[in-house]
């Protein structure tokens, strides 16, 4: 495996950062050097072979300034959503396209690279504390290359009404490139906000996104987090979301995976004090030869903590998806509730899903449930629609849309919901036929 990582080691040597984080970068790189890329003999990577990523030689240093026209960015933005927006192009923060304005008092939203360049005790306290370099070699790799990304600090009692959109655009480069976006979100007591991470490939660009997001929620903090992944059909995407939740805090995570050729998303939630709640909604829609793997893990560390997970997949073509939802209920964590569901719709004979719910329970007074289903479109529903004059193709698209919409309909922000409904319809074989059904 060592030849696969040589390229990363060389690029690391060229980085020459000497901020306070340099030591951490070095130790993360050392860790990555030891482990190399994961392989399918490891349980956590059993169904996802990352050799296509490992074999490619990506450039990790993007010093060429790739530009995107404002029109191009506008086409991707939530035009009707009044938001704070940070735009990254091929991993590099773009001052030109970003709109950080009208922030409430004492709120910090900035490029992580800028935050690293100054003394920042809070950043030192939190950065790289929740994403464990030892758990995933990709996280270690990301930590080694930490530079651009987002640093958000919402102090106690501050509610940011406008959502914060983090737009990671990737555009074809002469040579394939890797980006390692790193986001750190610190929310104080009773702080509230909405954050969207959008990963978008602008053309059939060939690249590798290796993103890590760390979130710390203090008492009673509420975060709504959206991840919308529309990487290019040739792109690789590895994403890690790690959250540490304090007393009575709440994270609502919506993860929508539409693009990419090889995709892996990990979410790790730690419910570290009573009353903490995590809600995880997910939708993956795959086609052709796409491979999309979603792994989630929730640790119920204290009593009276709550987790709810609902992931759905729509698989077409020769695509393959993996779902693994793990819930660990630690010994002292009595009176917790954990519910999990994964439902899959297979639209073709060649699509494949591997789904595995995992419950590890070390407490005895808990309420847990889990379920996984894999199936085709419901024949009774199909017949009902056809008997009501809806032709078969439309009926199939409509039912597929309805299946996916179970996830989208849980999204409370109308602008995002509408955008996603539009995107979901666009993924269906007969998008044009059912557009009017979704114009509610």
């Amino acid at each position: 495996m060592t030849t696969d990582i040589q390229n990363y080691l060389n690029d690391f040597d060229q980085l020459q950062t000497n901020d306070w984080f340099a030591k951490n970068r070095q130790s993360a790189l050392n860790l990555f050097k030891e482990t190399g890329f994961p392989n399918t003999r490891q349980e956590n990577w059993k169904y996802t072979d990352v050799r296509p990523i490992a074999r490619k030689s990506f450039s990790n240093i993007n010093d060429q300034k790739t530009t995107v026209s404002p029109d191009n960015v506008n086409a991707i933005r939530f035009t009707d959503l009044d938001c704070i927006e940070l735009v990254f192009i091929n991993g590099i923060y773009s001052v030109e396209h970003s709109r950080i304005n009208e922030l409430p008092m004492n709120v910090v939203v900035e490029n992580l690279a800028d935050a690293l360049a100054t003394d920042n005790k809070l950043l030192e306290k939190h950065l790289s504390q929740y994403a464990d370099n030892k758990i995933s070699p990709f996280t270690a790799l990301n930590t080694a290359f930490i530079q651009h990304g987002t640093y958000i600090n919402v102090p106690d009692n501050v509610v940011i009404e406008r959502p914060i959109n983090l737009l990671f655009l990737s555009k074809e480069n002469p040579s394939p490139f890797a980006t390692h976006p790193r986001n750190l979100i610190i929310m104080g007591n009773h702080a509230q906000t909405t954050i969207i991470e959008s990963y978008i490939g602008l053309d059939e660009a060939n690249y590798f996104t290796n993103a890590v997001t760390e979130i710390s929620l203090s008492e009673n903090a509420i975060l709504k987090h959206y991840k919308i992944q529309q990487e290019s059909q040739r792109a690789y995407h590895i994403g890690n979301l790690n959250v540490m939740q304090n007393k009575d805090s709440k994270l609502e995570s919506h993860s929508i995976a539409l693009g990419g050729s090889l995709v892996r998303n990990d979410i790790h939630g730690q419910l570290a004090d009573e009353g903490a709640e995590i809600i995880m909604n997910g939708l993956y829609m795959t086609n052709d030869k796409q491979h999309v793997d979603n792994h989630t893990r929730v640790d119920h560390l204290k009593p009276h903590t709550f987790s709810t997970e609902n992931y759905r997949g729509v698989l077409n073509g020769n695509s393959r998806a993996v779902f693994n939802g793990k819930v660990v209920v630690h010994p002292q964590a009595q009176k917790i509730e954990a519910h999990q569901n994964n439902a899959n719709l297979l639209l073709s004979d060649d699509a494949e899903i591997d789904t595995k719910p995992e419950l590890e329970i070390y407490a005895d007074d808990v309420k847990c449930s889990h379920g996984a289903t894999v199936g085709q479109l419901d024949q009774d529903m199909l017949f009902y629609l056809r008997s009501r004059a809806i032709d078969e193709e439309t009926a199939r698209s409509l039912l597929t849309y309805a299946f996916a919409d179970e996830v989208i309909s849980k999204i409370t922000l109308p602008e995002i919901k509408q955008r996603l409904e539009y995107l979901v319809v666009g993924q269906l074989p007969d998008a044009a036929l059912i557009r009017e059904f979704t114009n509610e």
Partner: protein, 249 residues
């Protein structure tokens, strides 16, 4: 309008209909009665085109075309409507959007212009009164969270909006309390006219107190064994099915 001749069908390799003959003209209301397992629902499903029913012998002609050749949606375009015994819930598919798509699919087939939103809504409002549909049900997902009675009413409501030429009501009366039954019956009665044929498939005579059929048929073991006027239904209610079976044997 509808002519069924010597119809034999199999479900899961079991023969259910064994030589059924039935002729229905425009303007007529036919009641098909029979005990459980006699093939009533099979007949309704075969006419609407559900998968899994194999026609091994016989023919069904609807307005001079071979009905069995048509896909379920083609039958609907041609004016066939099935009110389901157990209407399915379809989460995520909006009731009113389904209805609009259905109406416009039929209109398109007939070469009529599609209804715009305003025209469609006024049509819907008018038909809702027929079955006393609550307006909030309209904007829900199809049948989702509807009570049994609401589901049946929704079927009749859809029928009223789609204005079929041939309506087949599969045990629409089962599971209804008397008030709901009256509402459903009134809805059906209001749709009776000289161009429309209605086939009521039912286990009970009760529905026929409110919808007076022109013809009553007794279906038993896959065949129609006796036909008559409305008085036959009363006789069945009184004496049960056995005497007809014995007389036919």
């Amino acid at each position: 309008m509808l002519k069924i001749e010597n119809l034999h069908t199999k479900v899961d390799n079991k023969t259910i209909l064994k030589g059924l003959n039935l002729s229905v003209e425009a303007g007529e209301v036919h009641a098909i009665m029979g005990p459980n397992g006699s093939g009533k629902s099979t007949l309704a499903n075969v006419l609407a085109g559900r998968d899994g029913y194999e026609v091994s012998k016989g023919s069904v002609t609807y307005q001079d075309q071979d009905l069995l050749e048509l896909a379920p949606e083609e039958r609907a375009w041609a004016g066939v409507f099935l009110a389901f015994q157990y209407p399915v819930e379809i989460p995520g598919v909006n009731n009113v959007y389904l209805l609009k798509a259905a109406v416009n699919a039929v209109r398109k087939f007939r070469g009529e212009p599609e209804l715009d939103a305003v025209e469609f809504l006024s049509l819907v409002k008018e038909k809702m009164k027929l079955v006393k549909m609550k307006e909030d049900l309209l904007n829900r997902s199809v049948n989702e969270g509807f009570s049994g009675g609401e589901k049946k009413r929704n079927e009749i409501f859809q029928m009223a909006v789609l204005e079929p030429k041939l309506a087949i009501l599969d045990e629409t009366d089962s599971g209804l309390d008397i008030d709901a039954l009256k509402i459903v019956a009134e809805g059906v009665n209001s749709l009776r006219n000289k161009d429309r044929a209605i086939v009521l498939v039912t286990h009970y005579q009760r529905l026929l107190d409110y919808i007076k059929p022109d013809h009553v048929h007794v279906l038993s073991d896959g065949k129609i064994i006796k036909s008559g006027g409305p008085e036959l239904a009363l006789e069945l209610e009184e004496k049960g099915y056995d005497w007809v079976k014995e007389a036919a044997a």
